[in-house]
């Protein structure tokens, strides 16, 4: 093991070298797999295996948008995952606050529950989930059809439907991210002094005003961290969109990727890599933005 962020007199640089070496190894481990995607996506004749492109080209990217509905996939993914993230932030902000401040009996059981829910493999839930969503969807569809007919109803359901609609996917994606986000926010609020709220109470703020005008601004780092994790996790999810979406207008990036998998009989790795790279970018960018909030948030201690 090495030394701890201390300026040492007698400046021996050896531990530093060791640290650089170790970090370089770990970083290499982390970074190497990415090279293939990057290189293959710029390769006119990409293979599954890492090779230096003989002809450099942006053609793969162009094709994603020109030949395929790439822009639509990107938009759908961003819209669905973005909305889900936003929803998670709102719900986890509120719920985490409640969990942190409550002294009610259900606090501990609830915390255990949201921790253990994460054990459930999504694959075990998909079928029942589909059934309940379908039920909701049918009820909703019938309601909508009372007011508007045929095509309008379908257009509306595309937005608010539970199956093959934005809303359903957004809600389900959000729900899957909720446990972790609630946990993060609860921990965050635990570290936030109650004085602020009490000051706001004295100022005459209602619970909602308190949350909106005082707590949310204060909780931004926590919300950013919770949102980041939710975003990345929802962004990477392919099982739920796979099961829940059908309409071409609603397709998301991972589905596009699956669709691109077997174009004809061969796999077009260049195209696939370009799509994968496009798929990768938003998550990486999100990390870049929210990174500085991460440690800040978790420094309150991971304990509750």
């Amino acid at each position: 093991m090495t030394d701890f962020a201390l300026d040492k007199p007698g400046k021996s640089r050896r531990p530093d070298l060791l640290a650089y070496a170790t970090l370089s190894l770990i970083s290499a481990f982390c970074a190497v797999p990415f090279f293939w995607v990057l290189l293959a996506s710029l390769d006119g004749n990409a293979q599954l295996f890492l090779s230096w492109p003989r002809e450099w080209t942006l053609n793969n990217y162009v094709r994603v948008f020109a030949e395929e509905d790439g822009a639509r996939w990107v938009f759908n993914s961003l819209f669905v995952v973005g909305s889900a993230t936003l929803l998670v932030m709102v719900l986890a902000g509120l719920g985490g606050y409640a969990l942190s401040r409550t002294r009610a009996w259900w606090k501990q059981p609830f915390l255990y529950a949201i921790l253990l829910i994460r054990v459930l493999p999504p694959t075990a839930l998909v079928v029942p989930l589909y059934k309940i969503l379908l039920t909701l969807n049918n009820i909703e569809g019938n309601l909508v059809r009372i007011f508007v007919g045929g095509d309008t109803a379908r257009a509306i359901m595309r937005w608010i439907g539970f199956i093959d609609g934005y809303l359903g996917l957004i809600l389900v994606l959000a729900t899957m991210q909720l446990p972790l986000a609630l946990w993060i926010m609860k921990t965050f609020f635990d570290g936030l002094p109650r004085d602020y709220e009490e000051a706001a109470v004295m100022d005459g703020a209602t619970m909602l005003q308190r949350i909106r005008r005082v707590l949310i601004p204060l909780a931004l780092p926590g919300l950013a961290a919770a949102g980041l994790f939710a975003f990345i996790s929802a962004w990477g999810d392919f099982l739920l969109p796979l099961i829940l979406l059908s309409s071409p207008e609603l397709q998301t990036l991972p589905l596009g990727l699956f669709r691109a998998f077997l174009r004809v009989n061969t796999i077009d790795y260049g195209f696939l890599a370009a799509l994968a790279f496009i798929y990768l970018m938003p998550a990486v960018i999100a990390f870049g933005f929210a990174r500085r909030f991460l440690v800040q948030t978790f420094s309150g201690g991971v304990k509750g």
């Binding site: 796979l242 059908s246 309409s247 071409p248 699956f258 669709r259 998998f261 174009r263 004809v264 796999i267």
Partner: protein, 407 residues
């Protein structure tokens, strides 16, 4: 009125384009093509989830015949016997196609419009150069001897049969059953609709695999990886490092022909075909339904859906599919179609379908396919012998389907 069609794979979607337009025009309806994910497993995951919940498209295809009997048993498919027989295209279909479409209960549930016909494709140029006979092998022993000779004289792998889990249903569809029909026990389905997997033929087929693998006549490493067909078919075969492989009718066009990314020059000369010999002689051209289409039993407008299905069975659609995917039209009438005549590579195979044999379908075939994949995987990994492989298959089928379904 709207009919929803589930389709997947760009080629399939393209093949259906003109059909869809035709249907819309003919019946004055909207056909909505819902694009499903391409890998068969993911396609089935989604389709079956929707079917189970009663929310699936009106018309859809099963990626392989093996799924059909089970889908029938689950009540997902509407019977089309009457409509099919009354339809004017019916008469032109090859018998084998008609029979393949008949389910164990005697009803027809799917439109058998395309046939998958597999043969052994070999590098004539390579064999000629090495002085190896390019005669049609007479029986399995001959076939294996030929493979061994190739290996010995050229160093290239002698023969490839699809195997292993990652090839999906291919291990069954594109390899196992072609050998099985020429074995001592050529059928799996018994009279009472049960499965008989304990037959000697099953073991013997695994024995062929076993020998190919043990003698290193067949490349095993790539088959254990993802997309197992890529390296042997698209790299080794064109390079001559693999001299013979099973392949479907599409190979001349897509795998090594004009539509290929890595074509073999003058492919029809350089690559020859053998039919698959029987265990003790004979030639077997096993026909298979390629992605047969059916009607959702819960379709809102069943009648209309069935009419649409018949359109999919039209010669025009068949030819379009043949052009896009390289399968063989099930209708004899296709031979007269000028578009089809352009597909010179397919014409002789289409003609050969007349003598096609088939494997009787039964519920549980999807399970058998998976079991075969697992059994051949074990062979690839040299973990077992032929009897052991058969045991794996039998155990898996028993475990999944229950004792009562398996003899």
């Amino acid at each position: 009125e709207t009919i929803r069609i589930a389709n997947h794979g760009q080629a399939g979607i393209n093949a259906m384009k003109s059909t869809v337009a035709r249907i819309e025009k003919k019946y004055g309806i909207t056909v909505e093509v819902v694009e499903y994910p391409s890998p068969d497993k993911d396609y089935m995951t989604k389709l079956l989830t929707e079917l189970g919940a009663g929310n699936a498209p009106d018309i859809f295809s099963a990626p392989t015949t093996a799924y059909v009997a089970d889908m029938v048993a689950a009540g997902y498919l509407a019977p089309i016997t009457a409509e099919f027989k009354a339809w004017d295209g019916y008469a032109n279909f090859y018998d084998v196609a008609k029979q393949l479409a008949v389910s164990p209960d005697g009803e027809t549930y799917v439109m058998p419009f395309m046939l998958g016909i597999q043969e052994i494709y070999f590098r004539r140029d390579v064999l000629d150069k090495a002085g190896i006979s390019t005669e049609q092998p007479k029986d399995w022993a001959d076939l294996l001897a030929r493979a061994a000779e190739i290996k010995e004289k050229t160093g290239a792998y002698g023969l490839l049969f699809p195997a292993g889990v990652s090839w999906g249903t291919g291990a069954f569809d594109e390899g196992f059953q072609h050998l099985l029909v020429g074995s001592k026990t050529p059928q799996l389905a018994t009279e009472d609709g049960k499965l008989d997997l304990t037959g000697e033929g099953v073991k013997d087929v695994f024995g062929v695999y076993k020998e190919l693998i043990d003698k290193d006549l067949m490349p095993t490493q790539p088959l254990l990886g993802p997309e197992p067909w890529v390296i042997p078919k698209y790299q080794m075969f064109p390079e001559g490092r693999l001299a013979a492989t099973t392949c479907g009718s599409w190979c001349y066009i897509f795998d090594w022909g004009r539509e290929s990314k890595n074509p073999i020059p003058d492919v029809e000369k350089a690559v020859g075909t053998w039919t698959i010999p029987g265990q003790t002689g004979g030639q077997y051209v096993l026909a298979n339904l390629a992605a047969p289409w059916g009607v959702n039993s819960k379709a809102e407008n069943l009648e209309l859906a069935k009419k649409v299905l018949m359109e999919i069975g039209s010669v025009e659609t068949q030819v379009s599919y043949a052009a896009q995917i390289g399968n063989i039209p099930a209708s004899k009438a296709a031979a007269q179609d000028p578009e089809f005549q352009k597909l010179t590579e397919l014409l002789p195979i289409h003609a050969a379908a007349e003598n096609g044999v088939y494997l009787k379908q039964a519920a549980g075939f999807a399970t058998v396919a998976e079991g075969v994949a697992r059994a051949t995987e074990a062979l690839l990994r040299k973990e077992t012998d032929a009897a052991g492989a058969q045991a794996i298959l039998v155990d898996y089928a028993r475990e999944i389907l229950g004792e009562e379904a398996v003899k």
